[in-house]
């Protein structure tokens, strides 16, 4: 091995101190952070076990019938959650139907077409929609949205599509329609924000390749950018669905809270979250309470599954980058 020729150097004063000791600080720090981090898994564990434990009497009593049957009779002690499961899914899907075009439009406009100076302010304003408390949406829905629907939306809808079963019956205001519209407004900022980040993550080369082939700017977006980010966009939509499924206050105030399955969007309906909000404090028997816990458990499982699916789709597009986490 190579060695150096020695130089004559002035003898240096030895300043070496023995380097002993271990970093207690590091160990303490790591320990404290780990303890804090462990709180989340413990919370989830406690949450799941409490829900399951409290729901157990109802699960044992009704089994799978709980989700298939429609009778909800606290006095007789018979509980079937089918209408609220139906209402939860119906209102959320209807909300998606309205929110998806709107939020994708916002995302596409903001990433592709809006003038630079407009992008930040508009996206901030759209994100502010997510800051409005649910109960404020409910208030606005009750006193502004429902009168508006009654005067301007329902009559023309009836005039053109009144013959379908979806628009039958009398419109009293609180209804599947009202709940879905408010849900749609509430989830737009989530879907728009994640979609926007997905579209921003699409490489510029995708756009340029399409433009280079003579496509118009819209064609470049629609044939190159959107398909490239498709999985992420679907993820964004599913994320919105997850939000809609668990939304409580605004829906409780607007959907009518009727325990029934109906096809008409003009009729009142019920959701799982609304049922818990409405009935939890009046649940007088243990079985009643247990049934509500089972509703909570089902709601929890559905939202977890939907959210997990959404994350998977988003991760596939933007692996490594933290797409969407800001909106959550």
């Amino acid at each position: 091995m190579a060695t150096l020729p020695m130089e004559q150097a002035a003898a240096p004063e030895p300043r070496w101190q023995v380097l002993r000791g271990t970093n207690v600080g590091d160990r303490v720090y790591r320990g404290v952070l780990t303890a804090q981090a462990l709180s989340l898994p413990l919370l989830l564990l406690a949450l799941v076990s409490e829900l399951a434990l409290n729901a157990w009497p109802a699960i044992r009593r009704f089994g799978v019938h709980f989700v298939w049957t429609s009778v909800w009779d606290p006095v007789a002690g018979v509980f079937g959650a089918a209408p609220m499961i139906f209402g939860t899914i119906a209102s959320s899907l209807l909300a998606l139907l309205l929110a998806v075009p709107l939020s994708l439009g916002v995302a596409i406009y903001l990433t592709e077409f809006a003038p630079k100076w407009l992008r930040q302010p508009v996206s901030f304003l759209v994100e502010l929609l997510a800051a409005i408390p649910s109960v404020v949406y409910g208030l606005w829905g009750v006193f502004v949205l429902i009168p508006f629907l009654r005067t301007y939306v329902v009559p023309p809808l009836r005039a053109t599509l009144g013959w379908t079963p979806f628009l039958s019956g009398v419109f009293y205001g609180n209804s599947l329609l009202a709940g879905s519209v408010i849900l749609a407004i509430m989830i737009v900022p989530y879907i728009a924000a994640v979609s926007r980040e997905v579209l921003l993550a699409v490489p510029v080369s995708q756009r340029e390749a399409a433009l280079g082939m003579g496509a118009t700017r819209w064609e470049a977006v629609w044939t190159a950018v959107v398909p490239y980010g498709r999985a992420g966009l679907i993820g964004a939509v599913i994320l919105g669905l997850g939000r809609a499924l668990g939304e409580t206050m605004a829906v409780t105030m607007l959907i009518g809270n009727r325990h029934d399955i109906g096809l008409s969007v003009l009729q009142p309906a019920y959701t799982m979250a609304a049922a818990i909000a409405n009935e939890f404090s009046e649940a007088t028997t243990d079985l009643y309470l247990s049934a509500l816990f089972e509703v909570g458990l089902i709601l929890f499982v559905i939202t977890v599954a939907v959210n997990a699916l959404a994350r998977l789709m988003i991760w596939r597009v933007a692996r490594g980058t933290a797409v969407g986490s800001r909106a959550l």
């Binding site: 804090q36 989340l40 075009p101 901030f124 208030l139 499924l245 409580t248 404090s281 509500l292 986490s325």
Partner: protein
């Protein structure tokens, strides 16, 4: 050929306009809601609204002093419990989160982030209200903290990860211990971002109602006792909006305006915090 080209242009033009209009609609929805809040709420905001407690149903006058104080107390409790745990968890994920536990915590945070707040509410009821035997502001604060922690953990992690690795190395090479590097250099550099996360988290829980229904419950009287039921603005709005009296509806709008103002201030402060310092940190 030219007809086809014309059609293509037409489609492009139409769709471009359409997405613009859709964006306008989304912004319009926000402006409409804010506009209605001001139009219907502002006239009720007077001195007594902020200083008096609710009066019995049917009577006019009174205020929501109890709800304003209650919101401050419960959100304060939530912040007191939630911020340290959330930030600590975020730092854990950023510093030591590459292993199995880190992966688990990250996954659990995402799961809890998507959990409906009403589910958190009934969970808090089983854990705190049922064993204690009565509703309490503390239970409400804990429920809100449980909502805040996962969100804050993820934002903190993200913000800390934005700090360049070279800074961390520079500090370590200078003889900083890892904990000191993490707190004094890395977290300090990401402070604006972490602060933003905190403000956003507080803003989010300040407007929550569902987790409080069965924990803080609400209280018509003025109370500052954290082991007693307590009113919040959100609970008050819910009760007033779903009640039968015009007077209540008037109060609901005013309370909603106040709550919205509070949330907006927090959201704007968050944005300002990020803008004012963060540019320098990158």
């Amino acid at each position: 050929m030219s007809v086809r080209r014309l059609r293509r242009r037409l489609v492009s033009g139409t769709m471009t306009t359409l997405v613009g209009v859709l964006s306008f609609v989304a912004v319009l929805a926000l402006l409409l809601i804010l506009g209605h809040l001001v139009a219907k709420g502002a006239s009720s905001l007077d001195w007594s609204f902020f200083t008096k407690n609710p009066v019995p149903a049917g009577e006019s006058g009174g205020g929501v002093a109890n709800a304003i104080v209650g919101t401050a107390i419960i959100v304060g409790l939530a912040a007191l419990i939630g911020l340290p745990i959330g930030i600590g968890t975020g730092l854990y994920l950023a510093e030591y989160g590459s292993g199995r536990l880190g992966w688990t915590v990250r996954f659990v945070a995402d799961v809890l982030n998507g959990t409906p707040s009403i589910v958190i509410g009934i969970f808090a009821w089983t854990w705190l209200v049922k064993p204690m035997g009565h509703f309490s502001a503390l239970a409400g604060g804990v429920a809100l903290a449980a909502l805040m922690v996962p969100m804050l953990a993820r934002t903190t992690e993200e913000m800390v990860r934005l700090v360049p690795h070279s800074l961390r190395e520079a500090a370590l090479a200078l003889g900083y211990a890892r904990w000191r590097t993490s707190l004094r250099i890395v977290a300090r550099t990401a402070l604006a971002g972490i602060l933003t996360g905190c403000l956003v988290g507080i803003a989010r829980v300040a407007g929550e109602t569902a987790p409080l229904l069965f924990t803080a419950l609400g209280n018509l009287n003025f109370s500052t006792h954290v082991l007693e039921p307590m009113q919040t603005l959100s609970l008050q709005i819910y009760v007033y909006a779903t009640g039968p009296f015009d007077e209540w509806h008037r109060m609901a709008w005013a309370a909603a305006l106040v709550l919205m103002g509070l949330v907006l201030i927090l959201a704007l402060a968050a944005r300002w915090a990020l803008r004012s310092r963060y540019g320098a940190a990158r």
